[in-house]
């Protein structure tokens, strides 16, 4: 299971797919799941919705959700000298921008996010430039040269390879939420007693937009959102501020900025983990939001839970997950989905 998960995470994280530009990721996921599902369709926004039949009819419709988009950039203007002004697509810490490589446009050309060198920055040596000061530099000779390969409205993403390191860790861009997508793919490849639906959503990072329409289409009784969430488990950060820890299994949310999770679902998740000997931890902060915020108020309401893999340096070019947590998340979500289908 782990090899298949990590292979797919490598494939998916190395694709370019900022919010609104998820096509390449969707194509890859479709290739991965086509042979294992009973039906699929793509809706008007680009969400990929798949159904998998079980061995017996399910009592409840269960929808698993993960989002295909990653945070990235959009080119807004190309200056005469050939460098490009840009905005972020989704939330990126301004400190995580300067000095990073990107890929820009349909042609996915190499570029960098640059600014004046430290030697020329005099009294501002430790100040982070504003996004409006930075530019994406694709090494063009001038505007005309740049416009051969990029135009305003083009997307760009971090240029960051998948790397395995340390004690079973993975570094890649877009682990939020390509890891979640890979977990759903892995679940779809297995045979289950009860069938389920999976929504591979678009545009989560810019306001959980895709999740609104896919939830409406599926109209589930229960939904499990599989995400990554921020882990600040480093030196100098008090335990109470760390949110969750790598190596302690998926983090189960009781509340975040978009959703208050049903206590019985939270309890069921922990019970299931305990029964199966799967590591799990509470998410120890009310922070962030997920597609659950769009799913749970859909139609007449959906009982929804978010299960997240602890992720260091989320929304950066070097987000980090622990393999053991990914595998645990996969086992927990699979088992929990079956329980919900039969409740």
């Amino acid at each position: 299971m782990l090899n298949s998960l990590t292979k797919n995470i490598r494939t998916l994280t190395e694709l370019d797919g900022a919010s609104g530009d998820e096509g390449r990721v969707r194509e890859a996921i479709l290739e991965m799941v086509k042979g294992h599902v009973s039906g699929w369709h793509v809706d008007a926004l680009g969400n990929l919705i798949v159904e998998k039949k079980g061995q017996v009819p399910a009592k409840n419709t269960v929808m698993l959700a993960a989002h295909m988009d990653e945070v990235g950039f959009m080119i807004t203007h190309i200056e005469d000298h050939g460098m490009a002004r840009f905005v972020t697509v989704g939330g990126i810490d301004p400190r995580a921008l300067l000095g990073k490589r990107v890929r820009a446009g349909e042609n996915q050309v190499p570029g960098v996010i640059g600014y004046k060198a430290i030697h020329l920055s005099k009294d501002k040596r430790d100040e982070i430039p504003e996004i409006t000061d930075l530019m994406i530099d694709i090494g063009a000779e001038d505007k005309e040269d740049a416009e051969k390969v990029i135009v305003p409205g083009d997307f760009a993403v971090f240029d960051s390879d998948y790397v395995e390191f340390g004690d079973g860790l993975i570094k890649a861009k877009g682990l939020d939420d390509r890891a979640g997508c890979a977990v759903l793919v892995e679940i779809l490849k297995q045979e289950w007693e009860y069938g389920l639906c999976c929504a591979f959503n678009v545009q989560e990072e810019v306001g959980c937009r895709g999740a609104r329409t896919s939830a409406f289409a599926v109209a589930p009784d229960y939904a499990l959102v599989v995400e990554s969430t921020t882990a600040a488990d480093f030196p100098g950060i008090d335990e109470s501020q760390q949110v969750c820890n790598l190596g302690r299994g998926p983090a189960i949310s009781f509340m975040d900025r978009g959703t208050i999770y049903p206590k019985d679902l939270v309890a069921l998740a922990f019970d299931t983990a305990r029964e199966r000997g799967i590591a799990a931890q509470p998410k120890r902060a009310v922070a962030g939001g997920t597609d659950a915020s769009a799913i749970h108020p859909s139609r007449a309401g959906v009982k929804t839970l978010t299960i997240s893999m602890p992720c260091r340096y989320i929304h950066s070019q070097a987000s980090v997950l622990k393999k053991a947590d990914i595998e645990a998340a996969c086992k927990l979500v699979g088992a929990l989905a079956q329980k919900l289908a039969a409740l």
Partner: protein
Amino acid sequence: MSKEALKELIFRLAQAAGVSGDEAEAVEAARAELAQYGKTRTDALGNLIGEIAPFKEGRPHILLDAHIDEVGLIVTGICDGGFLRVDNAAGVDTRILSTADVTVHAKEKLFGVISAKPPHLSDAKEYKKAVKLTDTYVDTGLSREECERLVTLGDRITLNGVPRETASGRIISKALDNRICCAAILRCLELLQDKALDCGLTVLFSTREESGGQGARAAAFGVDPTHAIVVDTTLADGVYESGCHYEIGKGPTIGYAPILDRRMSQELMALAEENNIPYAIEAMGRGTGTNADDIVTTREGVITGVISIPERYAHMPIEMADLGDVENAARLMAAYVEKIASRT
């Protein structure tokens, strides 16, 4: 050497590790290229010296120098959870550190990520400041025990600035400062290889420039040249209104400064004109901020000049340069060597 071969050479040199004081890997990469042109040796400070044309009594002895060390970090402590405490080893731009990935040169090469406090723990003021090195950790993902087994305090850390070629053929990599200048010297040697030179010619890939020029100072004493050209990078940041006037793609710069030999500067300029080599004049008021400042006062003095290759984003992992500038710097140096060699 084709443009493609020059690019590959630069990437080979730039991707080798060589933080100030720990340049061995980069020196070996350069030695592999230098050995075809002459005998090579290293000295007490790790400098790589290539004897291209032997010293002749009564004839000029030219030294071509490019520093081979790069900026990086140094390990100062090991913490629980495999996090390393670090400090700057010569000039990394700390504004780029947050979430950058690095290589720790320990008993094995270890991959690491520079940890950063996530937004939910930072207030509005913190967003605007680069991480303080005292608050920065390198996340190796190993246990503390594993780190203690593999990592030694003082191990160097390089930035993972992998090579890329842009759509217009510019190059991106860490350590273009100063490996593009090492490459320019190697290309110059290729241009000179079939010429009989009636002068001594020695190449120096000097260590420890970023930490104060100690390498070049010692090596120049050992080599004892009459003339020296120092090749270093210069800042090309025109678009950011930083008061900098140079740009990539417009040729190398020729240095003019009180400590440099004015006649040599003028000769370089005349040679550039004669040979249709694009260039800019880089006028500096006191020192040059390069090894020239140390070489010029070696023994009884050395006639010294500076040729610089413009690059963007100095001391970041994304340095960018133009191959044409490297080629033109090489041609200019070769023209100068030939001229001095033929001077009676």
